[in-house]
Amino acid sequence: MLAIINAKVATPAGDFSRHVVLVENGKILEVGDIRVPAGAAVLDSHDGYLVPGLVDIHTQVGLREEGLGAEGMDHNEATAAATPQLRAIDGINPEDLAFADALAAGVTTVACAPGSGNVLGGQGVVLRTAGQAIDDMIIGPWGMKAALGEEPKSGRPGQSPATRMATAAVLREQLAKAREYENKRGDEKPPDRHLGYEALLPVLNREVPLWVQANRADDILTALRLAREFQVRLVILQAAEAHRVADRLREAGAACVLGPLSGFRYRVEQRGLDPAAPARLLEAGVPVALSTGHPATGIGALPVMAGLAIRFGLSEAEALKCVTLYPAQMASLQHRVGSIAPGLDANLVLLRGRPFYLHSTPNMVMIEGKIAYGQCQADPPLA
């Protein structure tokens, strides 16, 4: 057992309290004003701030590798409009430099998903950021990546989709066929296996969300229309103009992943990007996660994104939740990651100062009870 003492611990309410955190078998055992049990090793945080390991729920870490140029790009299978059968785990290299950046910034959980060149890009995965083999890094499934708007219609000249009409049509047809496939599986003569349709079944059965990149308000409304039609759970990615349709998003129970707030508006559809959107959407009752959109900006900049959100109107407590609890909830992983509470994975980051200041870098990053980054050493139990 490990006892972390003398830390200002981020509470679920969003403030900081001087608590002791007990860690055992990779999990958080207890948090509170408690005595250090006999036999526990002790890690003195020397008045540092202890926050949950940060979560970036929309990245291509490991899939679009850094420092390798074109050779490192395994994120867009731009050969067909719909590739739901693809799995990000088959393209992720745990040796990508970005994993080390993530740890150094206190990011312990990342979702990694295919790019937005295809209408249906494939299956994402939620990973811990330390590990040698991808199979040992998996926390859970993420869901299915989809994209509307400019990217899927411009990636493959001369081929469909070339318009927003066809983009929606491809998505609708895939979902309709997957449902038909499921219905026929009980038949006397079931259909041949189709891995793409099989991959869409967890979406249709609401086990995982459909994560749709959509920037313009009209594209977001198309996503909402399709989500209603097939009764799927919806998260909007990038979501430049989401604040313009905030009420409809709330009514549909849809969430938004915003970021990077420091991004350039390369495309026409990004004109409406508003760094004040996180504050406005949360106010309207729409759940928000902040993201680097790595490689749109580096995964190491996730705390900078939170700082920027504060600059544009978010409270510090809400900014912290936007990079911990809220993204965890979007992936239905709030029982594993995203807060400091008993029973959750011991993903803990000890910061040198209040979160989201430039010098408040991690002293120590712990993933499932093991120190994955930093110099901190626990003292052995007193004899």
């Binding site: 991004g263 390369y266 700082g307 600059r311 544009f312 989201f356 430039l358």
Partner: protein, 387 residues
Amino acid sequence: MLLIKHARIMSGSGPAIDRGSVLVEGERVAAVGVSIPEPPGAVVLDAAGCTITPGLIDAHAHAGIWEEGFGREGVDVNESTDPVTPHLRALDAINPEDTGLGRALEGGVTAIWCAPGSSNIIGGQGVAMRTYGSSVDEMVLRHPCGVKAALGENPKRSYGSRQKSPATRMASAAILRETLVKAARYLEKQQGDKAPDRDLGMEALGRVLMRQEYLRVHAHRVDDILTALRLAREFNIRIVIEHATEAHKIADLLAREEVPVIIGPTLGIRGKVETRERSFATPGVCARAGVQVAIMTDHPIIPLQFLAICAGLAWAAGLPEEDALAAVTINPARILGIDQDFGSLEVGKVADLAIFGGHPFEPRTPVEATVVAGRVVYCREGGLLSC
């Protein structure tokens, strides 16, 4: 007259003043100090809780020639039809209505060097310009300003992928060398009895050969930086290393040869092999070795309005605060040749300044107001100042 009082002042010239005032008269700074008597009739801004810095300067950006929100149509940055285009002028492609320029003011950035991209060995002539204005000719601070060159991956990818030269680093250096030889010959002829036919590209390079302008060489890897230094010695020209990703490895050499570096963009990912060693520690290592360091956004790679954060991340990685400020104010002003009027808050200089609502480098700090030539051109809605 405009008096801004009760602010922390990081003037870039001498130590910071914890609670002081800046007096602006017309376009110029009239006084900076702890206590300045309020002149009758002056407009007074109470900036308690704020920090004033000189208007920030980004010495390497593509705002106005790479417009935001336009997709392909907004890109006028790379004339990739010929690897040698010294006759091109960024000035001719700048749209002052680019919203990226307007947003720069929201980040306290008042001046930039706008230049062609790096797909060509010699891309063309840059311009030092304001971010505020409606006519580019009135926004010019110095023109022409520097000639852009590029080594490393970009030109050889741009041309090599089309089976054109340069396809290797050897050819990139050879083309640059050959062009400079040609320019030297042109210069000789110009100074002779019989003037040569006009060649506008050679004239631009002539100014480089006469040491009136910098050759601004895009180089990330150490070997590319060394190639640039070799060519600079060969032709006795003044160069600046742009991007300078691996400059920390040869910081002593750069200091000895008095070659400035403009480091960045560092906030993004390491997209290329040549950016593999990218680190926010590089500016600190270079500054400690005595190299003149500036920090760039390379807008649009990082939007201009986040220049202060880029300086801040270098500060957090070991660059002293005053050097971080210099890297986005006086050092870029010197590189652009506009430091007699810009880059620090000193009596007599043009009153370009940024008023931050906290520490200027922290991501959470908003810019409360931006002043250009004595006029408040941006004031944050619902902010700390009533201007």
